[in-house]
């Protein structure tokens, strides 16, 4: 299993190939479409992330000291973005997540190409992921 940093570097490399924002958006949209189905009964208010104009749900489970994230959104670009986050964070220990330095978002220029409301939504997502990590760490 790759580390969180390795996964970020991979994403950064991928995005380096894109010429302009439309390719980035197209990639996010495609990612959004391929994100695995999210169980309808997990679309509950307690999984909803505040601060996004679209609805974003984030669910997590904890097994063998490892957190698995699943996510969904009713907007496809949000779904693409959160699928990046799931890719980066899912399958890691709480400690790893808490220690991780999240830099791929700026590096791939998402923060400037996403409107800030989206970027804030993204921040909320990262925050929520870290909150889960803290909670599971406490459980250990």
């Amino acid at each position: 299993m790759e580390s969180i940093q390795q996964k970020q570097d991979q994403i950064i490399e991928e995005f380096n190939f894109f010429q302009d924002w439309s390719e980035k958006y197209q990639y996010l949209i495609d990612l959004g479409k391929t994100l695995p189905e999210f169980a309808e009964n997990n679309k509950i208010d307690s999984n909803l992330i505040k601060g996004c104009q679209s609805k974003v749900w984030l669910n997590s489970s904890f097994n063998d000291n490892i957190i698995i994230f699943e996510a969904d959104s009713d907007a496809i670009i949000s779904k693409g973005i959160i699928s990046l986050l799931v890719k980066v964070f899912s399958g890691h220990k709480p400690e790893e997540i808490l220690e991780a330095n999240i830099n791929f978002i700026e590096k791939i220029g998402l923060d400037s190409h996403l409107s800030q409301t989206r970027a804030n939504g993204l921040l909320s997502m990262v925050k929520q992921i870290k909150i889960y990590a803290i909670a599971y760490q406490a459980k250990q």
Binding site: Y25, Q26, I29, K33, S54, A75, S78, S115, R118
Partner: protein
Amino acid sequence: MIDVYKIREDFPILSKKINNTDLIYLDNAATSQTPIQVIDAISDYYKNYNSNIHRGLHSLSVDATNKFEETRLKVKEHFGIAHTHEIIFTSGTTHGINIISSGLEKMISSKDELIVSEMEHHSNIVPWQMLCEKTGSKLKVIPIKDDGTLNIDEYKSLLTPNVKFVFINHVSNTLGIVNPIKEIIDLAHANKSQVLVDGAQGAAHFKINLSELDVDYYVASAHKLCGPTGVGFLYGKSDLLNSLPPYQGGGEMISNVTFNKTEYADLPHKFEAGTPNIAGVIAFGSALDYMNSIGFDNIESYEKTLLDYATESLKKITNLKIYGDIEEKISVISFNVGNHHPSDIGSILDQFGIAVRTGQHCTQPIMDRFNIPGTVRASFSFYNTKSEIDLFVDAVKKASKMLG
């Protein structure tokens, strides 16, 4: 007629670049852009006669007071109001509505009923819900039909003797639909109900005469009328305003203060506690001047041309659905494309430098009515052009294609 390219020169922001392309501003229903004449009026105030008003004896204060009161005169003239003291300066539409909703607390009982419509902005819903919670009175809702218009037959049957007030917007900010407010007012008056019209969207697009409308209360915001943020006005018939208690306590709104007894000042001061937005009110006057120099008739007919052109062009896009596509409307188009989330369309449009609003537009009941998460709303002003609309329609097509 309108020389749109000449007009655009008055708006510095319209030559701005967004994401390396020209800004196309189609979010006019949220806030209008500001011509240099209005910006200069604000600077001029702070550079030449900034001063607290009404109580001052010195020249600056006198100048500021006179210019401030001049706006009241301009509002009176422009909106066909009988008396200047029937005009209360507010910080915006929301503030104006809350002055009334708070004032009615003692005048409404649990037997009374209030009517709003399903297409109201939250600002014209929540204050009445709060009022009902405090007084035990009942809020009834005029439903909207599938085409987005009000169900006037339902309105008539809701208008029972217990109905004390009707709260209705002149124009829907989400659908652009112009409501038949003259009819609504006349029906209400025949039922001895009073009417407050939320004119946030109405005031900006055509000329209205409040005396002829015979409306009881009317509220609007300057920032939708080429004016500054933080200013609006409340019109009320003077006997009604006189019968309401003051809203806020403070300076200006009293004529005599002792710890035993405080007397309130006459209208309009009774409702204008504290230092007002002096620069803003003065700039609001300039905004009215500016729009009148272009002419509301010209604005109305030009915006109608833009609306028709945009509606036709958009309709050619597969799966594009317009909400409230009727004849009687201002230049606002709310739509969705297929099942694409409005925020997806909006984000992509932003990359093209096109500013539209997406979401619920503070009208959640409309979204619930049509069972949608929101819409993309493009709203045009007299400084928009047909070629902007072409670029916009083209971008919607591209966005829809990208989203697949």
